[in-house]
Subunit: 416 residues, 2 copies
């Protein structure tokens, strides 16, 4: 990274969100800003939705004399003083240069790299609050799993963020469990990042106090439903190291968290959604006692349909190797079919002879399964396109969920 | 299959071998010859290495009055009278048209399709015994898992069979466990079959009593080490339905055993060997308690190296999609990394802090692990080619087995 020393400005990084995955990612990012001082400002802001927490007497942070232990405290104060997110990532020491901030607008101010890590239902609201209050040339990385599929098509969360904020946003997804990443158990992840190119002959603008610049590209973005939207993107001032694959790897790669940066944002995002549909089918098959070979058959067909879905609906903008070679593809599917919640609930639904909704209620404390929801969304889309038969596994999962097919009928339905 | 009724001759099928996998495959084949009378003779011969067995008193076949229950009996007699291979596939009813035959030469006589299913160390001897005693235009399918890798290159068992016998031989491999296939639990498998083409303009020969014919192709076969060998192949007489993908599917596909026939024999065979190396690494990682995501990372890298090994050493004769799309590729690897013996022994070796050889001794009743052996063979080949670094996972497995690397060092060794 020595050659990056030529730049006068360093990137300031903010993580928007502080749940278990948000905190685990913020820990990684803060470790890397500290160890790459030529590229990044050391301190990382993490926006925390403020709430009251109490340090329990059994906590190692408990000290009856400390003001922090006199009744309920702000979560941000506890994080900043104990360097632990005691509510969402217990037992994991956070770097001291990770700063919890209860003010969203203050946390993102002057940051050139924004990392989004929050439940997808909050995207529109949160982005609405910071719109116009971020640097116009900031870049984003969304760590929000999955895609938004409906009858009309599939939309990437990274694109939703980018569109609202007027910035470019890539995506991070892979075979990761927040608590394990927090414990520094080795895993891998993929980043998709492919901003439109600025004309390299045009001078990159110097940074003005207002952040305004002349160097703007307008480009047309075509989503899966064929809808075109005009997107305006401002170049990063030349004082900063360009936000490219090398810089993103420097920000996210750790010895225990191996990152591969690719250009295929859609592939990276899509894998994280479709794998949950496959995991539901894998859970059923194991619940039925059909064994590991039947499960492997389901996963094989699932991977094929993921590739085909990508090819069919994202066309040339997707690289199908993302599904077969990247952590966000095959590896994430394997993990989800090993012990993820979609797999487990589907398996239990067969073993207990209950509907998957009943299992969901008793097992997930009010949380919803992503796999059943995605199966419905994907089907509404496939049905509208008249393509149900080309995706027999996705269609079978939908029909079983609807009560229009039995699990026993799946093998013959997906037969070649 | 109606159009196949035009042929005057039907295929006679023999299964050479009757272990648990041999018997399970013979059961499938006999079910299919019975249900496709336009293509196949109903009776299927199965060569059985004769040995003495005794029907135990707890067996459902036990009848104190039966001559079959008076002391040790020939295994073939027991199979032909009870329609069960009580020694190698217990509790599974075999079709009555599956005939156990203790004479190898008699079993293969006049058969046009020979299915080989025996331990690979017996191939040379068994083929030597039947050389010149089979129909010269017979076709073979090898169900023997894996490939023979040494310092010089990789050789397919199907090619060894074909070369000794002077016939064309394809390969069947997939995510299958004999006992589960015997129980008709649903699984999938792949067949690679791609005989050289005969000139379609030349008249296909009529069958002469001696089986001799004029229609012979000579073709050059190039193996992975670049060695050329001349192979002579005799056309099937025109009275028979051609042995093509349709006929092979008719012979092997069942509602509980889904078959995909492809042209890539090398890919189908190679997957079954290399996956065992990956399974050893996966077992170590789980033994270490690193979790499902670390295992998925190992599998992802393993799949990549399988594809690369195929590309690198079989070149254009291999279709890399076999690894990512077929049962013999990704699905078989997934199963082997879930609970196969290579995975289990590697996991136990970490948990018990023993060498994998010690675990092998206590757990496998004198049988040998395929994964450790293949890791050594693959490494001797990669080392000679100077390519160890291009296959970091395969190399890491070898080095850990040799005591020259620790399991903890694998993640950084395979880091991109």
């Amino acid at each position: 990274m020595g050659s990056l020393g030529q730049y006068q400005q360093k990137h300031k990084v903010t993580v928007v969100g502080s749940g278990n995955w948000g905190t685990a990612i913020a820990k990684i990012v803060a470790e890397n800003t500290a160890s790459n001082p030529a590229i990044f400002e050391k301190d990382v802001q993490m926006w925390v939705y403020e709430e009251k927490v109490e340090i329990s007497k059994s906590s190692k942070h408990y000290d009856p004399a400390s003001p922090l232990c006199q009744g309920p405290q702000n979560l941000t104060d506890v994080i900043n003083q104990t360097h632990e997110n005691i509510k969402y990532l217990q037992g994991i020491a956070l770097p001291k240069n990770l700063i919890a901030n209860p003010s969203l607008v203050d946390a993102v101010r002057d940051s050139t790299i924004l990392v989004f890590n929050l439940p997808h239902q909050f995207i529109v609201n949160i982005c609405g609050q910071i719109k116009g209050k971020i640097l116009p040339y900031a870049r984003g990385v969304s760590c929000i799993k999955g895609v938004d599929v409906n009858e009309e098509g599939a939309h990437l969360f990274s694109e939703t963020i980018g569109k609202i904020l007027g910035i470019y946003c890539g995506a991070l997804s892979g075979a990761n469990i927040a608590s394990e990443v927090g414990q520094e158990k080795w895993s891998e992840s993929s980043i998709g990042y492919d901003p439109p190119h600025f004309d390299s002959k045009a001078p990159t603008p110097a940074r003005s106090p207002s952040g305004s610049t002349e160097n703007i590209v307008h480009y047309e973005h075509k989503d899966v439903s064929g809808q075109l939207s005009k997107v305006k993107l401002q170049a990063l001032p030349s004082e900063y190291p360009p936000v490219d694959h090398v810089v993103l790897k420097a920000l996210f790669h750790r010895p225990y968290f191996h990152i591969s940066v690719v250009s295929d944002v859609a592939g990276v995002s899509l894998g994280g959604a479709l794998k949950n549909v496959v995991a539901v089918a894998a859970g059923w098959v194991i619940g039925k006692g059909w064994g590991d070979n039947a499960k492997a058959a389901i996963m094989r067909v699932g991977l094929l349909e993921m590739v085909k879905f990508g090819e069919r609906f994202f066309g040339a903008t997707i690289n199908t190797k993302t599904f077969t070679e990247e952590s966000a593809g095959v590896a994430d599917m394997i993990t989800s079919c090993s012990g993820g919640r979609n797999f487990r609930c589907a398996k239990l639904s067969v073993e207990r002879n209950q509907s998957i909704e009943q299992v969901e209620e008793t097992e997930l404390n009010g949380q919803k399964l992503q796999g059943t929801l995605t199966a419905l969304e994907v089907n509404s889309f496939l049905k509208k396109q008249g393509l149900e038969e080309e995706f027999p596994l996705f269609t079978a999962v939908y029909r079983v969920l609807q009560g229009n097919m039995t699990i026993d009928e799946i093998p013959s339905f997906i037969e070649r």
